[in-house]
Symmetry: C2
DNA sequence: TTAAGAAATTGAAACGTTCTAATTACGCTT
DNA sequence: AAGCGTAATTAGAACGTTTCAATTTCTTAA
């Protein structure tokens, strides 16, 4: 920059002004730009960050990229940040709460502009001075969490199954994250069942790595292809897919005898064989919202939870193309 | 840091020494650490980067995260970099060659320590002074590219099918990246067919978004469940999966009448229904190799291509559990 | 006890920006 | 032509580290 200033015959400050869009004569502007071009000058963002304390970098902390929801999120967050001129530092925790804390520590060390995280550590130590947005799960009372409207998603699933004629329902939930927003899917589902007077059984697996308990339940409650229930809501598409295969194995006809709805609506699972009706999460919208809440530090008061609308999408494991999401619940 | 120095009653330089592991008395070391603790001091990496020109950050540029190969790669690269004390800046190009160039430009501006990229732009402008490793595809004569041993993978596929009794083979290839390392799969496959005197037809789709041409071919060459070929090698598992479904639709029995092998071996596809025999890529190893080549700037001379070993894995769409990868080709 | 040598510590000058207050140049009005 | 207000430019002090030559302190051996 010093060289550019000398080459252009102006002062250091002027070069800085030109590069930051501060007022300058067309002539000087041109002189500086030419000099910079000739010298192949590139601004040094570290020196700049040192002075401004602004790094145009945010950290994205995720448990893994293997689950479709996670890598879709990663892609969407990265894209949205880039659109705003920010870079993404990606960190993977492998569902390990210690690694989560490590990531936070590492990242705070680096004077970044914010953190977007999906973590499982209930008592994460995070510096209150650094903007933080969580996804799917609260971490800290005053930290904004953005997620799908899981509760309403559960309601939609119940409404859809009931509208398609189901009389006896089943809710299946797997996954290790307790007390997360995701947990509300079951609550919404059960609430509707209750109101409508539809019996509903729940099988909830928090710590199990395997689906075996679900399979055992199915085997116990299906006899000669006749099931004791006629509708299942699985809390993820991934699970729904495996349940569908198990049902096929047990000679249960879908959707004739039993109807199935999953949750997520990411192409990866929905288009698999068989494709499954589902509650679609607005991943891209979640990403965009998280980013804009994070970057918008104008309002000092932030919402503590933002739920984004989900919708029901029929893919053949429920009867008909019922547009339940338009129902006024 | 100034405050820490004052608090500990030592000079600025000493504090720096302590934090960088330079020799210091146990006493001073303790004094400095206590002071730092009391003041909640954290080193500022931007100031440090300014001085040392070392940022402990590398950029990872990928077309997308949706393909299993890509997100596995992203995860493995991130983990490996973290293990080495580096941070990962993730950038997604959406297969757009302009965006690729943009990413490179952005990243060069930021004085990072290196770039790992999987790009499609044949004439990417990249600053020779910044360490660069590409994956799956060369970009620039003197830039190191690491990939699976795709040629040998093709050979393995052919060997496996032939060892399982195939007499008339088919090679199917889809994907937009021309002239990449991936392209060598077909070459290896055909070479073995030639040597062994096995007839082999190839259907190569470079620009097609859809599989329709493959389906049309299959429909034309299968009559009443009897196919004119008895073995297929698909250049990805994703494709293999769809071909398998089409074959089922055409009442072709797999593996009895036609055997199928895919390529990639990432859980996402192999465990789908039906699971498919495949050539497994060592994703994690690719990631580790890319990182270590990138970080190891000691040797000024770098290899221009590094091929990592693949292996054949039977999953039921080929007959028997033939361990072809041990064959001495 | 002292001199020499090694080890630890210090002070000040970088690194490449931005920022602020001060200065200079410019265009108008009287 | 002088005076005034505004806009553009400048000089130099930060920002928080590292680095290196110079200095001090500590060890050891004569």
């Amino acid at each position: 920059m010093k060289d550019v200033a000398r080459e252009a015959g102006v002062s250091l400050g002027t070069v800085s002004n030109v590069f930051n869009g501060f007022p300058a004569t067309d002539l000087t502007r041109r002189k500086v730009q030419n000099a910079a071009e000739r010298l192949g000058y590139r601004i040094n963002n570290y020196a700049r960050g040192l002075k401004t304390n602004k790094t145009y970098t945010v950290a994205l902390i995720l448990p893994s990229l293997e689950m479709p929801f996670f890598h879709h999120l990663a892609e969407a967050v990265t894209a949205e940040l880039m659109r705003n001129g920010y870079r993404t530092i990606l960190m993977i925790t492998y569902y390990d709460t210690d690694v989560e804390q490590q990531c936070i520590d590492m990242v705070e060390q680096n004077k970044i502009d914010g953190i977007i995280a999906l973590t499982y550590n209930p008592d994460l130590q995070v510096d209150a001075s650094i903007p933080f947005v969580s996804i799917d799960r609260h971490c800290g009372a005053s930290i904004c969490c953005v997620s799908s409207d899981n509760y309403h998603g559960g309601e939609l699933a119940a409404e859809a199954l009931i509208a398609c004629g189901c009389k006896k329902l089943l809710f299946m939930r797997i996954g290790s994250d307790v007390a997360s927003e995701v947990d509300k899917r079951g609550a919404g589902f059960q609430a509707v069942c209750q109101t409508r007077g539809i019996p509903c059984e729940s099988i909830i697996l928090h710590d199990s790595e395997t689906d075996a308990p679900f399979y055992r339940y199915l085997e116990a409650h299906v006899h000669d292809g006749i099931a004791e229930f006629d509708g299942i809501f699985c809390n993820t598409d991934r699970l729904a897919l495996r349940i569908l295969r198990k049902l096929a194995e047990l000679d249960v006809r879908v959707p004739e005898d039993v109807q199935v709805i999953g949750f997520d609506g990411l192409e990866d699972y929905v288009t698999q064989e068989p494709p499954c009706s589902t509650i679609v999460q607005p991943v891209t919208f979640i990403a965009q919202t998280a980013v804009s809440v994070l970057l918008d530090r104008e309002n000092t008061v932030h919402p503590t939870l933002i739920c984004l609308p989900v919708r029901y999408e029929a893919h053949g494991t429920t009867k008909g193309q019922v547009s339940v999401w338009q129902a006024n619940i």
